[in-house]
């Protein structure tokens, strides 16, 4: 997290605010609620108390405006700059402005006012931008449900104001996973139109052959309708589909779009109802089969006939000698199966049927 220079903050724990005007995109009550909930996010973890004024000067004056709106710090039309706020202080200090050229919503259909307000009011209280992609104070907009503050945000605001003397139980979002953590494990790996997508917690890394560095993004930023936790994923390039598994449900993505009719239950594939989760999945181009890994076993699904092959499940240890007996994620490239289990990556030769190399899981992330 970061503070503003000189750690600017309000010296009085009772901070006043006033909403000067409203966006036509939402009902007045929705805007009032979004602002109040956004302030409560910070009140929950500090001694701060927010008092609403309906006239006169408040510490935090909240307004909607577009382009040049009176502070010589113009907005830029739709997208780009969404809002800004000033650090604590007299006059314009603490004031918070939203770009009226954006479309504001109370869900994921447009820019969610509550999420942007919680971020901007963080500035109005003295927080600057965080470099942690999982933090609310990260500068780039991303939609997420649930409690918006991460541990990083809470540490930052409490460094300014201290904790709430009567703390309400809050469950902060975990910070973003570190790609070079030597103990890093993956939740799922899949190809997607020539890119490699690696899922971990609420995030995914995108590895593009031409991009030197993997890019980390919140899952919900790209696919708001799939869950924050992915168990397994695979691409069937013939059908130009990526299947995402979470719990007993599965989603089909065509590129970055969700295919109609999903989610479906994983048992549609022919798995018994006793199976409640798929640990890893991988499509073997050379055979047209998709291997599904569950605990110590695996299944073979024939993509051409859309049926489960008979004679399964079979034991992972028996059929993949040298491999661990469980798999977190799997990928297939040019005749080699890449199995990921905890912080270890196994390179398995499909033809010579043996493990030919063992590396750290995050070696795929340039670590």
């Amino acid at each position: 997290y970061n503070h503003f220079p000189r750690h600017l903050k309000w010296n009085n724990n009772t901070v006043t605010f006033r909403i000067l005007n409203y966006t036509p995109d939402l009902a007045k009550s929705d805007v009032d609620r979004a602002v109040r909930n956004a302030l409560n996010v910070w009140a929950d973890v500090t001694p701060l108390i927010f008092k609403k004024l309906h006239q006169g000067n408040a510490d935090i004056m909240i307004s909607f405006g577009s382009k040049e709106h009176g502070d010589y710090n113009p907005f830029d039309g739709p997208n780009g700059l969404l809002a800004h706020a000033y650090p604590p202080g007299q006059g314009i200090g603490g004031d918070t402005h939203f770009d009226e050229d954006e479309h504001w919503s109370k869900d994921s259909s447009a820019y969610n006012l509550y999420i942007v307000a919680a971020h901007e009011l963080g500035h109005a209280l003295g927080m600057s931008h965080s470099t942690d992609p999982g933090a609310l104070m990260y500068p780039v907009y991303s939609y997420a449900t649930g409690y918006p503050l991460s541990e990083d945000d809470i540490e930052g605001i409490q460094a300014l104001y201290g904790p709430n003397p009567n703390p309400r139980k809050v469950k902060p979002k975990p910070d973003a996973p570190n790609k070079c953590d030597p103990m890093l494990s993956f939740d799922a790996v899949t190809e997607l139109r020539g890119e490699t997508i690696i899922f971990k917690d609420r995030f995914y890394w995108r590895i593009h052959p031409q991009m030197p560095e993997p890019e980390q993004t919140l899952i919900k930023s790209t696919w708001p309708s799939i869950p924050n936790k992915v168990d397994a994923a695979y691409e069937n390039p013939e059908k130009d589909l990526v299947i995402i598994f979470s719990g007993i449900r599965m989603w089909a993505l065509n590129g970055y779009n969700l295919v109609d009719g999903y989610p479906k239950y994983i048992h549609k594939l022919g798995l018994p109802k006793t199976i409640r989760k798929i640990d890893a999945a991988v499509y073997i181009k050379d055979t047209g089969k998709t291997l599904l890994f569950t605990d110590e076993d695996y299944w073979s699904y024939d993509e051409a006939t859309s049926t489960m092959d008979s004679g399964y499940p079979r034991s992972i240890e028996d059929d993949f000698p040298g491999m661990d007996d469980e798999v977190d994620a799997a990928a297939y490239h040019y005749g080699y199966l890449y199995f990921f289990h905890e912080h270890v990556q196994y390179e398995y030769s499909y033809t010579s049927r043996k493990v030919i190399r063992i590396q750290r899981t995050n070696s795929i992330l340039n670590c």
Partner: protein, 82 residues
Amino acid sequence: APSSGLPLLSKDKDSWLLAEKYLRHFYALPAGLQGTQKMSGTFQTKIKEMQKFFNLKVTGNLDDNTLEVMKQARCGVPDIGE
């Protein structure tokens, strides 16, 4: 775009202008030509600052990754304390 002699990978003038506007707004790139033409080192320094902030590979070049982040919807408050 001014032939700044920067080892820029950017594809076209729009990218270059977008980057200049972005770095001026969020990383205090000096306004006018001074920030780009004469002091091309400043431009590269600011790109490196931004790449470091966003945990991108610090190259000083205007590569695809960097441009992609510059195009994302975001908060208007600068990333460096002013």
